[in-house]
């Protein structure tokens, strides 16, 4: 047999018909090359070890390997884009071509995409702001819940209106003993702490106002004398 690689081989199929020669040559060549391969002797041990491993662990291991490969590929694929976007670019100006001024000798470095850095900065600031708002809202809700729970658990009327958050705003009633309190309808209002403004009920949600069914606040209604002390 003669190959284009120039390497002569003894041809076991010499003398057979040309139509079968190719297959015989291929068979001989593949056996000659592949039979030189000697696998490791611990194949059965490795198979048994794989069988002893739970299939879920094997699947997770394969998944992790594939994900790692994918992550590396993504990094490799994105690297030219980042390199191109952040590459320095000589700023051409008239002095640079004319000559020998100090500024022309050291032109300033600018990124290839000039809007990228401001855009990244704005995006970062927006992310921080949104995160802050979300976190602050959640913290405020937690504090509100904790405060209301404490208020509900305590029977002291003086603690009933200890929370001033919400849409209540400043109360027209001013006085040293005046605090804002939540009503069961959810609308915080100002009332004297000595009054019967606290009533147990469902925990109000801050910011949730029952606009459709506004009940007059007891503290704003005219109470019989002697009750609202």
């Amino acid at each position: 047999m003669r190959t284009h690689g120039g390497k002569d081989r003894p041809d076991p199929a010499r003398g057979t018909e040309a139509g079968r020669d190719l297959e015989a040559v291929l068979r001989w060549a593949l056996h000659a090359v592949a039979d030189a391969i000697e696998p490791a002797d611990d194949g059965l041990t490795r198979i048994m070890r794989r069988l002893a491993t739970p299939s879920a662990v094997r699947a997770v291991r394969l998944l992790v390997t594939d994900c790692a490969d994918l992550a590396r590929l993504i990094v490799i694929w994105l690297e030219p884009a980042f390199t191109w976007a952040m590459r320095p670019r000589w700023r051409h100006h008239a002095g640079y071509h004319r000559g020998f001024s100090r500024r022309a000798a050291r032109p300033p470095l600018r990124p290839a995409v000039p809007w990228l850095r401001p855009a990244l900065a704005v995006a970062g600031a927006a992310t921080i702001a949104v995160t802050g708002v979300v976190v602050f809202g959640q913290v405020r809700q937690i504090v509100t819940q904790a405060t209301l729970n404490a208020d509900t658990g305590a029977s002291t009327p003086a603690h009933a209106g200890g929370h001033s958050a919400g849409s209540g705003g400043p109360s027209p009633m001013t006085g040293p003993t005046q605090t804002a309190s939540y009503r069961p309808g959810g609308t915080p209002s100002a009332s004297p702490t000595a009054g019967p403004s606290h009533s147990p009920g469902p925990t109000p949600t801050p910011g949730k106002t029952n606009h459709g069914h506004h009940k007059p606040h007891p503290s704003k209604t005219k109470s019989p004398p002697g009750q609202n002390k």
């Binding site: 003669r2 190959t3 041809d11 020669d21 068979r27 090359v33 391969i37 696998p39 069988l51 590396r72």
Partner: protein, 175 residues
């Protein structure tokens, strides 16, 4: 110890064997041949061993659905071909960036691949290479090749004809 891939009919495996016995018996008879078959498909000894070991694990799992050694060996052929195909597809994605992946050893020869015929076989399209390797190295008939590749016998004939036509250009056979 290392029989041809078609010797399964000469050594039938009892159906009542459990999966461990079957794996051990088929391993002793066919492991080396299957690794070499896989090596011809994936061109890497370590990967070929992994492919064959994974196929044995899959066969162990599917043993209760297999009825004897013939079906087990056919299952192994199918699994080896399928997994080798997956390896090549994975490699087709990885290889363009292989030199930049950690642990890459550019230019490291994995096997004695200096034979021109094997090089020519490796240049064949995937399906043609599978059919040719199963035919010329595995000595499988076309029906079993079709089963292992998951295609029809007509497709196997077509792939073999294409491979022969391509290799005839490369390999010159003296009359």
């Amino acid at each position: 110890m290392n029989r041809s891939l078609t010797d399964a009919a000469l050594a039938p495996i009892p159906v009542q064997w459990d999966a461990d016995h079957a794996v051990a018996a088929i391993y002793g008879d066919h492991y080396h041949s299957l690794v070499r078959l896989a090596w011809l498909l994936v061109q890497d000894v370590t990967t070929a061993e992994d492919v064959v070991q994974d196929s044995f694990v899959a066969m162990h799992t599917a043993w209760r659905h297999l009825r004897g050694g013939d079906q087990a060996l056919a299952y192994l052929h199918q699994s080896v071909v399928s997994r080798s195909r997956s390896v090549r597809q994975h490699r087709a994605v990885i290889e363009p960036n292989a030199s930049r992946m950690p642990g890459a050893e550019p230019g490291a020869p994995s096997a004695p691949d200096n034979a021109a015929v094997v090089r020519a076989v490796r240049l064949l399209p995937a399906r043609q290479r599978e059919a040719l390797v199963l035919r010329c190295y595995g000595d499988l008939p076309e029906a079993q090749i079709a089963s292992a590749m998951g295609v029809s016998e007509a497709a196997v004939k077509r792939h073999l004809a294409g491979a022969s036509a391509a290799l005839r250009v490369v390999v010159e056979v003296d009359p």
